[in-house]
Amino acid sequence: MKIPISWLKDYVEITETPEELADLLTFSGTEVEAIETVGSEYEGVVVGKVREVSPHPNADRLRLCRVFNGKEELPVVCGADNVAPGVKAPFAGVGTVLPNGMVLKRARIRGEESLGMLCAEDELGLSHDHAGILLLDPALEAGTPLVEVLGPPEIVFNLEVTWNRSDCLSVIGMAREIAALTGRPLTIPEVTVTETGPDVASFVRVSIDSEDVCPRYTARVLQGIKLGPSPLWMQRRLSLCGVRAINNIVDITNYVMLESGHPLHAFDYQLLQGGQIVVRTAVPGESMATLDEAERELDVASLVVADETKPVALAGIMGGAGSEIQESTQHVLLESASFAPAGIHRTSTRLGLTTESSHRFERGVNIETVDWAGNRAAALMSELADATIAKGMVDEYPGRAERKRVYLSFQHTTDLLGVAIAGREITDILRRLQFPVVAEDEEGCTVEVPGFRHDIYIEADLIEEIARMYGFDRVPDARILCAVSPDAFDLPFQAETACRTVLTGLGLSEAVNYSFISAQLIDLFMPDGEASRVVLPNPVSSDQSVMRPSLIPQMVDVLGRNLSRQVREAAMFELGKIFERDASGTITEHKRLCLGLLGPVGRHPQDKRRDVDAEEMFRWLKGILEALLRSQHVLNEELTSYDAVMFESGTGVEIRVGDRVLGCMGLVDRKLGSEWRMQEPVAVAELDFEILTGGALERVDIEAIPMYPAVSRDVAMVVSSEVSHRQIEAVIRESAPPELTGLELFDIFASEGMGDGCKSLAYSLEFRSAERSLTDEDANGYQEAVKEALRAKLDAEIRDK
């Protein structure tokens, strides 16, 4: 909201500099977002009279003017459409520096001499308007310095009024704040309404059908208005507040709204049927054209102001086009009312229509001064538009109520703020804020809540008033005392931190993606399962329209994006939630951990140029996974082959722990990867975070350090390439005695000499007894048994050195 300081001074004395005043307001709750200077001294700019206008010989859009500046007549080339003989406009002569920075020079424009310029509003820094030159009052004398016409430069505050403080949405409201802050008196103009017309009752009857949404409605009738522009001082104040001047009647309603916070509406009385105003909700199928010339469909909850037959205004939001003030208007019906906030907000939101009026009504206006605003506007119309005011005001006031009373305990104030404030200082603050103190003793006081305050219901609301007027900077820091919550909620968070520590230690960097994802991206990875997707009814954009059902698509996208930026390798993880919908529509969310590898991440630094093959890529990720699982005390995962669209055939694996599915891993399907021009294998995994970390806090039983030495034996074999490492391991474990304490694959290769479909594997077996030192003979015996079993069960050819 914009307010010029000069207007505030009508109601309260201001001795502070603009900066001091801004601080005062900002630190009492109304932030001054900007301090603007509007206008200037306009040095060198005077009132110019256009004496002659003729066409420019070389340009259709330009005109040649003869402009009198009070001393001499000068040739001026002008491009404005509204230039005409006889008009008066700001004239800047050669050498003038305009507020927008332009320096005027003697010029030839398309061959014609121009010794100055007739100015538009933007060139004078008054607004951004460049629709034409600024037309001035024809009664002004040519040569008058413009500063005498427009007044000195103005300082305008741009204020951020918080949602609860509707009372501050006016010049008087802000003046009241300043008065309270400085202790100076607030002067509200006396309104004298001179009623010389017939009784208002002979013109209009008002009835309110929905009194809970319209607690008060007043109407005045003004006869014989002279429509015309409002005086310059009023236009200027409107413009400084960002409101466009239209005509004297509309300008007066806007002026009083800015001044008092009461939105008003002026109807052309003769366009209202039946001399009747009905405040009611719309009937089914009803619609109306509003002032912005839009045809609006009304729903049955929309509140309208109607005449005998039709809606004439969208109550509290915008007037109707059909009863608008126009050239032919002679009589005016002036509405000043109070509409309930909730209904205005609902209708304004539904129609997507916010106005200065709805902005104020949806926050609440002062029901007590609805009549004051109507009277103020009527008096101004009488003064500035020669209106005759009908006798009396129609004042329907079904919502009349006693003021609320609130008790404030001085002790509670001190306790809540942590600083001792004397009772007298508290009541003094409340009085300055215009809360009448109706009772007071040692312990506390009771105040009445004035009609302009819609945010005061309970004691805490008053304590806030005390705090902001007393000053937060005067509240000291307390000594920090720790009262610890009896319940710790930390464990899931600690599990996250622990996994982050392990994964970063393993060389993975953390990614964070949005929770939203595009349907197209999911389709690529998970074409099925559309039914379980959580789709947003009102997404910001279509590429953020679904809550992610998996972290993998974005992980691949991130790896692909890095690849496209010439990043050759990346090892990443993300910890985030996925969202699913079940058949009944219930949405569940689960924490997941996603891992992703791109490029030769597991290679020795001087061995990165070779292409990465599928097996090594898979095993790097598997290695990371195993390290992570062990860190979370998961010791017994089982991998089974798993087909999924996103995985390259044969590389997908489901990971189970007991009877629960921990997650899956695999290499990204090659065709899918080609969407990101991935030519080498890319590995991804996704794990359920709760299953992963569920056992991390379980106690671990420590085994004793072995007392007796171990004996090692190697077993090397050639087997069919169909035989898996897991099978070999199983046979070795079955055939070896409990003394087998270590089993490690230390070599694996395949060569042509071995014959087709064969591979060679070599294992190191470690034997150890808890009771004695094993002998070579013991170890040899164990080794033989293992060899024998491998031959028998896997058709292995044992290779002896």
Partner: protein
Amino acid sequence: MAIFRDGLFFWGEMMNSEKLKETLSEALAEARVAPDIEGLEHVRIKYLGRKGLLPGVMKGLGGLPPAERGEMGKLANRLKTELGGLLDQRREELESGAMGNVSFDFTLPGAWHAAGTRHPIARVIEDAAAIFARLGFTVAQGPDVETAYRNFEALNTPDYHPSLDEQDTFWLESGDLLRTQTSPVQIRVMESTQPPIRVITPGRCYRRDTTDATHSASFHQIEGLYVDTRVSLADLKATMGYFAREMMGPGVGVRFRPHFFPFTEPSVECDFSCHVCAGKGCRVCKFSGWIEIAGAGMVDPRVFKKVGYDPTAVTGFAFGMGVERIAMVKYGIPDIRMLYDNDIRFLKQFA
């Protein structure tokens, strides 16, 4: 080995002082060229071992003429100390690998993988959790999909409050919504627990903002809640001050400006003095010396009523701040989208 009266024989040769000198230099040379610990051990055994040369010489000394005995004794001692010393030195060299003839280029790059990095968002959350943990706050989490009740109504937000607008909230078909703040977690904590309560609630929130350099439709917040008997605004000030110093630097101060939130009363906005220019004014703080970081206030008694607490028995404060905002201010990140771009070259800088 045999000892004859007229001389000292060893390894089939007569050992005299001349010969012993020669043997000493041979032994030293052998020790120098031994390629490994094993080779070195051979040299030791050959000359100094129990069956080696030196004990033999020492034994035979007594049978030598006194004139020779002195010189041979000296030589034997030299053999023992010089060779022994060299062997020890070489052994140390071999063991430490700093052997001249096994040289390598120590300027070659290391051959272990680099550590990964935490995301700056996670980093700010973890750092904040650690700071507040020192003040006795635990971390509570809650669902992203919330009821309108916990997100708005329980927080004393009337249903015609502007923040309830269709435009600002992601409503779901079920009538639930994506939480617009992490405050509903505070409601959950209060619903399930009795005071005293000290929690912070970090997590993801959603608002229908169009993405630009400072806005994102999904972002993170850290909120905090302290409820007990006699909690005051002065406690809030002290807590925010402590957090500001710990998070941004020892010289950072806080100031409160009155504001409005439906769920606190009084409500304040909390500015930190600029950690870059120490409040003098710079680009980071837009030349004001202050950076707006948090919203805070004393919990509105109407919120306590909603969760079944007696508002005459307890008071409390709550605060909330944007994680991305802190990360951007703290690390000088110019655009919020960089946090969600996941360029590894950006992420790797948060080591």
